[in-house]
């Protein structure tokens, strides 16, 4: 009897730990509501290149290839932090199409930014009025979307990419 009473705190401890662990591992985070666009078709967009206004990219241009879409701006500091990682991604997955959308930026600032930091993108689209971001449901910069060959969004990240996220969340999908 005495032993059983002394054992109870240990048992309670086990129960609490098991529940907490299951909860932690289930990856539920009430702070991040699931994106409605996940597993849906990529929204329609049309955008001209930052360097050449006549060069246009449309939704159907990215069909049949895996595409990583990144919204960035020269005034966005977390974008600077994740920026070098796109070079890594580009080097590691040459067949992946890297599409950057420059969000609400003066063209000169955007160009300067990509000059100083380098340009990892295969195509830089201009989204000066933020309409494309609206279509995607962007809440803030940076945001990154992964589109598969069928034109479906299979991954969405709010906030900057880190090495951990790249390794654990994005690379398994590539």
């Amino acid at each position: 009897m005495n032993r059983i009473i002394i054992l109870t705190p240990l048992i309670i401890l086990f129960i609490i730990c098991i529940f907490s662990l299951t909860y932690l591992l289930s990856g539920k985070d009430p702070n991040k509501p699931p994106s409605a666009l996940l597993y849906k078709d990529v929204p329609n967009f049309e955008s001209s290149s930052l360097y050449n206004e006549k060069e246009i990219i449309k939704t159907r241009d990215i069909k049949n290839t895996k595409t990583l879409i990144n919204f960035f701006a020269s005034w966005c500091s977390p974008c600077k932090i994740e920026h070098p990682l796109f070079f890594e991604i580009g080097k590691k997955y040459p067949e992946l199409y890297l599409l950057g959308f420059n969000h609400k930026d003066p063209t000169s600032d955007a160009k300067k930014y990509l000059e100083e930091d380098g340009n990892p993108y295969d195509f830089v689209g201009v989204d000066s009025d933020g309409l494309i971001a609206l279509e995607f449901g962007v809440f803030g910069l940076p945001e990154t979307y992964l589109i598969n060959e069928d034109g479906k969004i299979i991954y969405k990240l709010m906030g900057p990419i880190t090495t951990d996220i790249l390794k654990n969340e994005i690379e398994p999908l590539l």
Binding site: S77, E116, G140
Partner: protein, 146 residues
């Protein structure tokens, strides 16, 4: 009173306390707990009218309406579904369109939710883009880094 009787009395008292505590907990976990849903979950469920629930999501862009200085109308959304909310009172400082919010209240109608409490959420690590813009505008952000 004999020593034995006193002790028995104490033990009985202890059990009464524990029992009433357990009953209190059982009663209150049924009565005083509110469920938390996202807007799209609500459309799938039959929510009982007048049951206090919480809804979490984002304040839909361009949905905010000021009816008077103390009553507001807005939509809360998780991008799949949205719910029309009315609220009387003072909105929290961090409340704005496009930001996360949790509202507590009841359905007065099938599609109008009457909020009694509004909590705005603010994530420290993921700051809205506008902050960075201001940083840059005011020259805090050094462009010539390398």
């Amino acid at each position: 009173m004999s020593l034995r009787f006193q002790r028995l009395l104490l033990i009985v008292l202890t059990f009464v306390i524990i029992l009433s505590a357990v009953l209190l907990i059982l009663y209150n976990t049924r009565e005083n707990v509110s469920y938390f849903y996202t807007p799209s979950e609500i459309n799938k469920l039959d929510i009982v009218k007048n049951e206090t629930i919480r809804i979490g999501g984002f304040v839909e862009n361009d949905s905010f309406n000021k009816i008077s200085s103390s009553s507001f109308k807005f939509k809360i959304t998780d991008e799949k579904a949205s719910i029309l909310v009315t609220f009387n009172g003072i909105l929290p400082d961090l409340f704005r369109e496009g930001q996360g919010a949790v509202i507590e209240g009841t359905f007065v109608d099938n599609d109008i939710f009457n909020a009694t409490n509004v909590f705005a959420k603010h994530d420290e690590n993921y700051m809205p883009a506008s902050i960075k813009k201001d940083l840059k505008d005011t020259g805090y952000w050094n462009k010539k880094y390398k």
